[in-house]
Symmetry: C2
Subunit: 356 residues, 2 copies
Amino acid sequence: MGIKKNILVIPGDGIGPEVTTWGKAILEQIAADFGHDFTFDEALMGHAAIEATGNPLPDETLEKAKKSDAILFGAVGHAMYDNDPSLKIRPEQGLLKIRKELGLYANLRPILLFDELLNASSIKPSILKGTDILFFRELTGDVYFGEKVRSEDRNTASDLMIYHRYEVERIAHKAFEAAMQRGKKLCSVDKANVLESSRLWRETVQAIAKEYPEVTTEHMFIDNAAMQLIKDPKRFDVVLTANLFGDILTDEASQIAGSMGMLASASIGDGTGFFEPIHGSAHDITGKDLANPLASILSVALMLEIGFGLKEEAKVIITAVDKALKEGFRTNDIADETTNPYKVLGTKEMGKLLLK
Amino acid sequence: MGIKKNILVIPGDGIGPEVTTWGKAILEQIAADFGHDFTFDEALMGHAAIEATGNPLPDETLEKAKKSDAILFGAVGHAMYDNDPSLKIRPEQGLLKIRKELGLYANLRPILLFDELLNASSIKPSILKGTDILFFRELTGDVYFGEKVRSEDRNTASDLMIYHRYEVERIAHKAFEAAMQRGKKLCSVDKANVLESSRLWRETVQAIAKEYPEVTTEHMFIDNAAMQLIKDPKRFDVVLTANLFGDILTDEASQIAGSMGMLASASIGDGTGFFEPIHGSAHDITGKDLANPLASILSVALMLEIGFGLKEEAKVIITAVDKALKEGFRTNDIADETTNPYKVLGTKEMGKLLLK
Ligand SMILES: CC(C)[C@H](C(=O)O)[C@@H](O)C(=O)O
Ligand SMILES: CC(C)[C@H](C(=O)O)[C@@H](O)C(=O)O
């Protein structure tokens, strides 16, 4: 029996539209193949929304988001804002606000390692082989959302790094539950030797760990974790961390998968789930047909599995990606010296290949 | 003509005492060989100081530090505090306080790559070869020193991430000056798309960059930097960043040098310089004669060069380290499958070898 879902596509900025086109096309194909009824709507966010409405997250987008069953998102950001720190309205505010408004407190980032790409990484294949990490990054707290102050003379600026116990508890439970379904190991990352918010974090995780006695819990400082992640990635199973530390560690971990162009993430919480590549808007390659659509396509796999409970459909997608890689096809970001130059595909060709 | 210097040794906790013993021995040998007059004093800090006096930075240590010409430091920290986030007096407070009190606002961390250790890293030698990065980590501001608050019900905790323009300016000048002496490239790392303190950081660095038109300046977000650092470390020359981001990036970068056991740092500012390995107290190997003394020995080279302007003496040390590695000698942390097991040395043997 097919299911009926209402999916909002937010392409965003830069390469966002180029890659979400293919994510959406895959969803349509899956619907056709499995007899589901997926309906789509589209909305603006980020720089694109600022241009059109003056607001990085227009009310209309938020309304549509709240009513949808899942959101497929591309990326936000634009060089213009990066070069001018004094601009008050910024594309990223749209992304941060939608995370907060939808209560998307848990960002899941699986580090999926395709054997074919073992060599695309700057890390030695022998170190990588067998790595399987699932990150739980807290997404609606921390220094991202604490009060921001600029002094009147503009010479002092601050951001409040702040956590409430319930925020740590709810994501910790999700991470421990995931660990129970996996390798039963959880590493919580903080900077409790310096930060009070990290001490609250550690205390809370220690308390919750007692409810999951089968899970081996370890606590690691962020500086050490940033090092261990490339020294010995296999030692990690579930990694639980705060918003800022998670932002840094997961981008770093993208090198394990060979490229950021391969990694997808699912943000979940109180309601509608939000699915996106972990890569950014990548202005430098926008419109050049160079972007890797696989992260958006793998975001769709996460939507199907985590958002809709459609495991088989998700598997079909992952198998298709695996097959394309096994056959030697690559986008530019994951090609290396050994790649057959005729098999280096543009965004569109790779998208079309996956559709088949 | 020899010079006269008064050096304070602060061994600290864990493997700190084991490794600083050899740093000090090397200083004595250099004094003898080059006709310098180095006098030594010793003081407590961290857990060792808490045990003896109840205070992680006793007044006596601070007095001695202020009067000395340079400080050779080991490490602080103890598992007891890491496991109990509620302890109020903590070893790291000693280190943070001495950085603040001595005005050590610039922490220089050169990533020194010994050819012999190219293989000890988890990163591919082809990616590493030719890497030469000098980090400038701000050391007396940021979320490390901003106000820390725990609510009365203990359910909310915060740390203020805060920067003043002058704090960014003074370290930026030092970093640009260093870039002028090196590859004339500077990468400033922040999170200006989210943090107000980073926007102040970026603005200030942009303004100062105009005074160094010969230096090519780039700005990178911390998440991207954590990724680029392992994807393509050769692209970096001088990296300038805030306290927390610098803590994370430099530990991560230690994998480039094969091991944290090889990296030294110099903290400089208004007065006395402070020289230390970037590794921590490493309780797990304390007292087992397994620690790598080379980071402490290389800290001494930084002291001689940056603290005392003794370039030749510094070079003698680096050459000696290079020679030991070329002859195949390793400590446990930098040994690999190809190492002759008879050449894997303990802390003491490696220290003695270097003395020769
Ligand atoms: C664009 C930016 C605000 C965002 C973040 O820092 O969360 C991005 O880096 C991410 O990881 O989703
Ligand atoms: C021990 C700790 C407080 C310290 C820091 O975070 O600065 C250490 O990690 C370092 O990098 O010197």
